[in-house]
Symmetry: C3
Subunit: 329 residues, 3 copies
């Protein structure tokens, strides 16, 4: 069970692998903790000593300067020491197994691994089987999950809408290949919004997408009606070549968010996007930069959410390790 791996016996976070299996109370605790770090980000000295003397290793098996930078900044604002490892160029090329490499890093007294991997389940595997005593934070694994992205989106929604109650939210774009969408759907349902919709051409929707607890729409006209929140996904341009999509122009005509389509949602609907934006492909510039866009708020919240998750998981893991050591003595 994902919940058991992620939690201490007393129910505190010790890894952050997935939104799945976490209760509404725990997700709310993450949002509340992040909110307190927003205030830190507005101070002249944006630093708290919560992770002082702790070592955070950014283990990026799949390169992502943007995501890595947000975790690096979050860790440094918590006063942690940060080690960036780009694994493609590292010891695995010397024929060392992944397990050996991770156990070596653990033996160097690393406290937390932030893991990005192209394989679904990589962060889970590490937390369960390789280094369970190191706090693992999932920074994106294959098509499976990108839970810090989902939680920063939740924080942004709560800031602008006050609560999740009664909200209608749609996710628009390539649901099929999106780890972000899977995490968002789970988080929205756990936090109790009224309705989660997905809007995409059939070729970009999983067959059984309704099982995730969403309503399926293939037309923007239908899906945008009465919406409070519109979450646009980034179009991975490489999908174009796979024959799953018509041209960029055609995609933009049908699913790109412009002012005209935005007008179909509620007048106070907010527009979100995980970035980086393809302007003129999934979103028009006037919408991206317009008054309903909260895209840059998402970025600011991304630092706060990562600080929250890192400090909570480190605290839970430290508690667990301390109990284990005391039990051994």
């Amino acid at each position: 069970m994902e919940s058991e791996i992620q939690l201490t016996p007393s129910g505190r976070l010790k890894h952050f692998l997935s939104v799945s299996g976490l209760s509404r109370a725990l997700l709310t605790e993450i949002l509340d903790t992040a909110e307190s770090f927003i205030e830190v980000g507005e101070r002249n000295i944006r630093k708290v000593p919560l992770l002082r003397g702790k070592t955070v290793v950014n283990l990026f098996f799949e390169p992502s300067t943007r995501t890595r930078s947000t975790f690096e900044l979050a860790a440094k604002r918590l006063s942690a020491d940060v080690l960036n490892l780009d694994i493609s160029t590292s010891a695995t090329s010397k024929g060392e197994s992944l397990s050996d490499m991770l156990e070596n890093l653990e033996a160097m007294a690393s406290d937390m691994f932030v893991v990005r991997h192209s394989q679904s389940g990589a962060a889970h595997f590490i937390a369960e089987s390789v280094t369970p005593n190191v706090a693992i934070v999932n920074a994106g694994d294959g098509w499976h999950a990108h839970p810090t992205q989902a939680m920063l989106d939740m924080l942004t929604i709560r800031q602008h809408k006050g609560s999740f109650e009664g909200l209608k939210v749609a996710i628009v774009g390539d649901i099929l290949h999106s780890r972000v969408a899977r995490s968002q759907i789970r988080a929205l349902n756990t936090l109790g919004v009224a309705e989660v919709r997905v809007i995409a051409p059939n070729t970009l929707l999983p067959n059984d997408v309704e099982c995730l607890g969403v309503k399926r729409f293939t037309q923007m006209e239908d899906g945008l009606k009465d919406l409070d929140v519109i979450i646009m996904l980034r179009l991975q341009k490489e999908r174009m070549q796979g024959g799953l999509l018509p041209s960029e122009q055609e995609y933009y005509r049908l699913y790109g968010l412009n002012q005209q389509k935005l007008a179909m949602a509620k007048p106070d609907a907010i527009v979100m996007h995980p970035g980086p934006i393809n302007r003129g492909v999934e979103i028009s510039s006037d919408v991206a930069d317009g008054p309903q866009s909260v895209i840059l708020n998402q970025v600011t919240n991304g630092i706060a959410i990562r600080m929250a998750v890192m400090s909570m998981a480190m605290s839970g893991q430290t508690e667990t390790n301390t109990s284990r050591k005391e039990a051994l003595e």
Copy 2:
């Protein structure tokens, strides 16, 4: 106007983009501030808390390990958190626009961007149009300016000559393609030296070089006479292939600084070079390592100047942002 972009309403530095438009008083303040950091560099604990809790992002669109390292060290000695971004391998490759990337970094609560770019005017553009509330420091843009290099040179001259009054200074080498030379000429004239000369073959001099406030020389014999300060420029070897220059040997024979040519200047003339040195191309080893060389002093001063500029711009920018927030409340 360059001066307006760089200064707060009360005339304090908030970006450092160019020497142009800065008054003699402000340049002198930079030199005096740097002088105080020289003393920090000689302590056993070389650290001051001026930028504690601030985030400095090194944005290098053009790779330069040397320059990046000096800014990184300067920022760390000011206790800042530093994020190094090598942009060629970063998100811009995902089709994200430069503006979007910078606004994202700003939204992560970055306080300062140190910008190196192959396009002249890049740092200005960012300060004016993209992220005016982030302090921008120009670490070299195209052929336009490299103002921290010029200021460390000024500090070195003042240390060795006491003041700028009455000094005759020559810059020798590829003036045409040198952002360093442009910044040096501006700074020397603002600080009131008696005479600035440029010495180079005609193919390496801008047509209208006299407009910059210099005397043009094409022969070392003429230009070196009565000099107090000789600033050698690095020869970019790729110019050789462009047909602008004869062979390296020929260049060295005509414009390379050796003991014999050095003897044409004043006996207490100092020899400067921004590094890295091409020994035997623009300067002989015995001159580079000789008693009149102050090349390593320039390097030491480079850290102090960068600490000065970073702390002054951060302070001016923080003041501006605080006033703006208060006005909004």
Copy 3:
């Protein structure tokens, strides 16, 4: 003499280049200091302020993410500022000489260089001729030495065996090309073990290996008898192509350590390996992960040894520089 370069007039460490020339007392001081840092690694806040305000530059002319990471973590736990320079991509490519580059780094007020180089003697050369006032730590030079690896091995042996007295230790594998083996042999003899053995095919043993103070064995059956400590070396797979070795399978059959061969040593013998491990080539998985393996202890000790060596060399170097400055005043 290596000893003279490495020591202050009063016999304290100021560079750490090689185990050669260091006394048993000094090696023991390194081990004792490291032991005190082991305790720091077990605290919740793993940080001591010994190198606060000091700048450590990791100069890796030969890439090694693993070794670089251990030095980076060790330096950060000592509160130093760390600058990582990957030299292959740095200024040397601009035609700058190594000496010029290092003198530049020294002029930036760097306090310590951690040097990894493919040429034997590189760290010595730098300490002797280039930047003697910067503390130099050798992180591996050609086939010559890898002294921090040897010292972490000594610490691991002492932890498990109490002392070095009466111990029989064998090093198994490619002695000929191993800088680690050279440093280990020197350290073991200086610390006074009863017997050091090398076990390898003749093609992987130096001709005059006995001069180093070891017994030569070409059969595992003979060499493993009565052993207290077995140190396996990593097999560099590129040696295979040089015709020095039969196939990997054949090597494993003859020199790979499995349970059956391990049983030939003393029942409480410990098994060591510098990592990364080639499982099934030089060691079987059940031995690597078995109760006699102390491989992960070696990794943990690697951080402590590096903290010890860095803090001792920095202290000796600072003392020397302070005396020199006072003498000049």
